[in-house]
């Protein structure tokens, strides 16, 4: 009886469409494109893999120096490292505050007015499209060497990330409270403040913590172009070929980044 049932069913089920040929063609096209990008003759990039072997002695010498960090240098790194952390925290905090209204203006459920929404989104996309080191370089030229250009760089960088990711998350979130607020005669601002913000604040908090993590990593580099923090010291020691000191700084950055990540993971788990 069961066999007759399954026989009847197999007769009814339409054949599954096969698309193997298409999948294979798409795969081949991607593979060919990737290979083509590495052929200089047709405008691809030049990859001299042989350099890895030819210059190996340089690399190994550097690695040996790296493996002998001079921990006597550590006290001199504390100040710049603190400056890096301060830039990271203050930049993330300022961006967090400013991100709230901008995000709500950039998401469709919280801003039904299309022209202002598109305007905010366009501005944010422009801000986002400039790389962080470009901001830092230009700002150092504008406001001078120090922590300030680094801070502004981090602020702009964070703002772009938070507004883009959170506003897209809000677009994809079902928020029935909005209809209730509208039915109660609320303005969009009232609905956003009392209805949407409480519902979406974990989305915000997640990105705020993420940008804090990013900031510690980025601000370690910003000093290389003169924008304050531990990066300046790193660049200076590297210029003196003091790789034992550089190794200390790199290790320290690693430890701090891991600590911040542990801390933000701890906070994130308590969110929900």
């Amino acid at each position: 009886m069961t066999s007759s049932l399954s026989a009847a069913r197999s007769a009814e089920v339409p054949p599954k469409p096969r698309s193997r040929v298409r999948t294979a063609l798409v795969f081949l096209a991607f593979a060919a494109f990737t290979v083509a990008t590495c052929i200089p003759a047709i405008g691809g990039i030049e990859l001299d893999v042989g350099a890895l072997i030819r210059n190996w002695s340089n690399g190994s010498g550097l690695l040996v120096q790296f493996l002998q960090p001079d921990f006597g240098f550590l006290p001199r790194t504390i100040g710049p490292m603190l400056e890096t952390l301060q830039m990271a925290v203050v930049g993330a905090a300022l961006a967090a505050v400013v991100s709230v209204p901008l995000t709500l203006w950039a998401a469709a459920p919280t801003n039904p007015n299309a022209p202002t929404r598109v305007l905010v989104r366009t501005i944010i996309n422009v801000v986002r499209s400039v790389p962080d080191l470009v901001y830092a370089t230009v700002l150092v030229a504008m406001v001078g060497v120090g922590a300030l250009p680094g801070l502004i760089t981090l602020f702009l960088f964070d703002l772009g990330i938070i507004v883009k990711l959170v506003s897209e998350a809000i677009d994809a979130t079902d928020l029935p409270i909005i209809e209730a607020g509208r039915a109660a005669g609320g303005t969009q601002t009232q609905i956003n403040r009392r209805g949407v913000l409480p519902q979406t604040w974990p989305l915000f908090a997640n990105q705020w913590l993420y940008t804090l993590e990013l900031n510690v990593r980025i601000s370690a580099i910003l000093g290389i172009v003169g924008a304050g923090g531990i990066g300046r010291l790193l660049d200076e020691r590297r210029a003196f070929y003091a790789y034992d000191d550089v190794a200390v700084i790199v290790l320290e950055i690693l430890v701090v980044v891991v600590l911040i990540e542990i801390f933000s993971n701890f906070l994130r788990r308590r969110l929900v």
Binding site: P176, I177, E179, A180, G181, R182, A183, A184, G185, G186, T187, T189, Q190, I191, R193, R194, G195, P198, Q199, W201, P202
Partner: protein
């Protein structure tokens, strides 16, 4: 702290005088071309308790949303109390909505906020935006929020997160939020479709009490025939966007329901005890 029953405050306040509702040849066509209502004319007197019965897709939700302007009528006129909803915009529309309470099938609460803040949503229309932004509440609104919660038996949950409540409790908080508006009309869109039978009866009971105690005009969308018969006095049957029945709810026969549904009655058309 003892709190007087809600009607002591709301029932006597002139702001909550009940309103009549009139639809005059109202049609609604959505932008995607779907015609949800065609040529609906209704006259609902102040203080009536009316059920709107029909299958899903019959236009019930659209009809109820034309009354507070959440869905604009494509043609025809909607009048609520002394106001013409059709063509109303901006502040005038928001103030009108402030006088029309509404509850929903999915409760539509802010689950991550506490019950108290959810009820305060009902004060939006009479509160300046800057006050809401700063979170400043008047003593009067605080008092009214607690009274509203008390009148639906939810006062003890005032500091709980809305998301922690059961379905029936959430719907009661939603009713308190609507009462917070000191409404002249109460709309309910399938208020018990997500609830189990005993809770459904309790919520319908609450709605009838609101209708009787405050003399509020109440419109309930419902697809269950026994609830419509038991709790409402007048029944309007919708089928494919047109009114096919309008009469006493208790007198509606099974044949009338078959006309509304366009098919024989099935067990799922009845809630049961």
């Amino acid at each position: 702290m003892r709190i007087d029953p809600l009607h002591a405050e709301v029932g006597t306040s002139p702001a909550s005088a009940s309103w009549s509702i009139r639809l005059d040849d109202v049609s609604v066509t959505y932008p995607n071309g779907t015609r949800a209502l065609s040529g609906v004319s209704l006259d609902i007197a102040a203080g009536e308790m009316v059920s709107i019965v029909g299958l899903s897709g019959s236009g019930k939700s659209t009809l109820i949303r034309t009354i507070n302007g959440l869905v604009p009528a494509s043609s025809g006129t909607v009048t609520v109390g002394p106001h013409t909803v059709t063509g109303m915009r901006g502040r005038a529309l928001r103030e009108l909505r402030g006088r029309i309470g509404m509850i929903f099938q999915g409760f539509n609460l802010a689950d991550r906020s506490d019950v108290y803040r959810n009820v305060l949503v009902g004060s939006f229309a009479r509160t300046p935006t800057w006050r809401t932004l700063l979170g400043v509440t008047t003593a009067q609104d605080r008092e009214l929020a607690l009274r509203s919660l008390d009148s639906v038996g939810m006062l003890e949950k005032v500091w709980n997160r809305a998301g922690q409540l059961s379905g029936g409790q959430k719907q009661r908080v939603a009713i308190a939020r609507a009462l917070m508006q000191q409404p002249s009309v109460m709309l309910a869109d399938e208020p018990v479709a997500s609830l189990d039978p005993p809770t459904a009866h309790a919520v319908m009971h609450d709605l009838r009490r609101v209708n009787r105690d405050e003399q509020l005009t109440v419109l309930v969308n419902i697809h269950l025939m026994d609830l419509a018969r038991q709790y409402t006095t007048r029944m309007i049957g919708l089928r494919a966007g047109e009114v096919v029945y309008d009469g006493q709810a208790a007198a509606a026969t099974d044949h009338d329901f078959e006309q509304i549904y366009g098919r024989p009655i099935q067990p799922r058309d009845v809630l049961g005890a």
